[in-house]
């Protein structure tokens, strides 16, 4: 289990990095091509990438606890 934890972290970080970079790149592209070299698409893209990676990582960590439907809270 411990190894899985470490593995998950590795995957997660790698995935986030990749997504960030990809987002960055896409942002740069869009910024250059469509939005007249403004900085906001770059930030947007990188943010998008980070967000996606973050969510993916989160979901990966949540996976064992995820119940389809809704979370059961004590009421």
């Amino acid at each position: 289990m411990a190894e899985e934890h470490g593995r998950k972290w590795d995957r997660c970080l790698a995935d986030t990095a990749v997504k960030t970079v990809t987002g960055l790149g896409v942002g740069i592209v869009f910024s250059v091509l469509l939005f007249k070299r403004r900085t906001w698409p770059v930030a947007f893209g990188s943010g998008l990438g980070v967000g996606m990676g973050y969510t993916n990582c989160q979901n990966d960590f949540r996976l064992p606890y995820l119940i389809h439907g809704r979370m059961v809270k004590d009421q």
Binding site: M1, R62, Y65
Partner: protein
Amino acid sequence: MLRACLRGANATARNNCRRNPLTSVQHCRHYTAGETSGATKVVAAGLLTVSSGIGGTILYAKWDHKFRAAVEKNVPYSDLLFSLALGPSSQEGLPIKKQTELAQPPSMMDKQVKASKAKSEKKVKEAAESPAEESSPATTQPAQSIEEISQEASVEATHIISAIGEVPSVPAPCDTEAAAVKEECKECHDHKDTPVTAVVHPNTESPVAMEPLKERPVEEVAARLAQQDQEEQDILASVSASLEESLASSAKTTLQAIGAQEAALQAITQHTHKLKEAMEAEVPPQEKSAQWKDLEAALANRTCAMNDASTALLKANETLGSLKSVIDKSKGLNIAAVHPLVLAAEENLHNMIVDLDKVVTKVQSAESEAKIVSQYSELVNEAKQQFQREVSSLTPEIQANWKGLTGKLSADDLNALIAHAHRRIDQLNRELAEQRVREQIHIDAALEQQKLEDQKALEKAVNTTLQHVKEEARLEQERKLGELREVMEAEMRTQLRRQAAAHTDHVQDVLKVQEHELRAEAEQVLSSKMLEQETRYRQLNQEQLDNFTLDMNTAYARLKGMEEAIDSHVVAEEEARKAHQLWLSVEALNYTLKTTDSDLPTIPLKSAAEAVRDSCHDNDFALALASALPEESLHRGVYSEASLRARFNSLRSLARRVALIDESHNSLYQYFLSYLQAALLFEDEQKAPPTQLSREDLDPFKLLSYASYCLEHGDLELAAKLVNQLRGETRRVVEDWLTEARLTLETRQVVSLLSAYANAVGLGTTQAP
């Protein structure tokens, strides 16, 4: 505004889940800072937000009770706030309702119970009454039945008695009936026994005779009766025989006597006649001698006949006398059946006597006549004799018979004779004159004599006739008496017969009833006795059987005991051997547990387990234990404690790092926070676990320190238990370690159990000296 409200809601939601609500206020403050720049505005906005949040919460709580409850539960003093604002929560009403509901059904139940109680009481009462009623009818029924039976019996008895009562004779019970029977018999006896002359009123005599009676049994009475009858019959027979005999003899003799008398009479009359003839008739001399001869013959005849008659008379008298004595004797016997015979005999006797007397009187009269005639003839003979003598004296040579002497006499003789004759004639004339003179006197004297004699004869005749008449009257009376007695006897007999018939009927009925009763009684007694005997016999039998079975059982038990002891010895030895084997195999298993390197598991326990299983294939407990070894341990082997310890130490840091992650909170931010916590939090490396875990001890850090302590001190079990309390991600992280630890623990437990068992078995099988 809506956004603010939503934010507020979010904040409250977060408040429910998180620990630090301060961040929401910070967030709110951060967002609303862009609209105006004044601090007061900020504060006012903050206050407004807060108040709106609270107001919204209160409103929503008013509408949604569950929300209110949740808020009350999570926020410490919100229940006070809510009660101030909204009043007590409506949920409080529900328990009251429930209580009322609960109260109502119990009351209804009480009512039902009461009703049922009342019903049951009623039923009990009824049951009590009905058993009483039933028992009373039951008791009355047996009483009634007894009464009925007795009534029936009495009714039957009364029927019988009433049926008997119709008969004029007394319906007496058995004792008095027997007495009555005997009395009647005694009456009969009295009837038979009373003498003929004395019995005139038998009825008056019988009561007198009844009183001094004693009871005699019927058989004796009957025997006596029979005996008496027999005696009477004998006597009767003898008497009748004697009577007949004497009658016959007397009749014979009487007839003889009568005949003799008649013959005598005849002879006398003949003689008299002849004499008369001889006296008076003038017959020639030849015939005169014949006549005289006839006369003599007749005389002789007469004398003979007279003798005969007298002897016959004597005999007849004798027999008559004997007959009379016999009659008197039979009279003296006092038997009723003899009377007619006696009567007849007496009559016969009387007749015979009468006949005899008649004949005797005839004979006597004839005799008297004959006497006269013979006197006359004697006189004449005397005269003749005298004349003859005179003649002979005068003429001695002349023979006596002067009638035949006519030719022989001379004149002198004749003259003498004539002179004699003249003289005689003179004499006779003189006598005649004298006689004539004395005639009257003589006639008177004769008349007197005759009168006397006649009177005597008359008296005698009268006496005899009187006697005869008396005798006849007496005989008649006796005959009549006998007849009357017979009639009365017959009547009495019919009455007695009737009574006897009634009596027999009654006796029959009573005997039937008695028989029935006695039979029932006897049968009952018999059955009871039989039952008793049977039960006793059965009891004895059973006792004998029981004793025998007891002995057999004890012997068998002893035999069995001995056999069992021997078997158990054998079994014990076998067990001991097996135990030894088991112990050896368990020791081998135990040894395999120890063959382990630091990080690798042991060798698979399969072979050792097989060995154990082989050595205990008939012992369920050991088999169960052997099969309880986990599969992993068999195939793969188990880890040693040291390796587990080392692994745990490396796991601990990881567990610490993910301590804050649980099932619901596992975002990456939470991961960051938990990492921060692990970096900042310090706990003891090893801490002794308390005996009882409280709620604060369930913190993962504490648990990990406890577990380390336990592991350091060799208590894998407690360490595993403590590790088992971890939750969430930490639990997931240490899951592997936990399973391994469990496996090891299981295997060790099984092995220890097996070894303990083997030891115990070995101990058990070793026999103390």
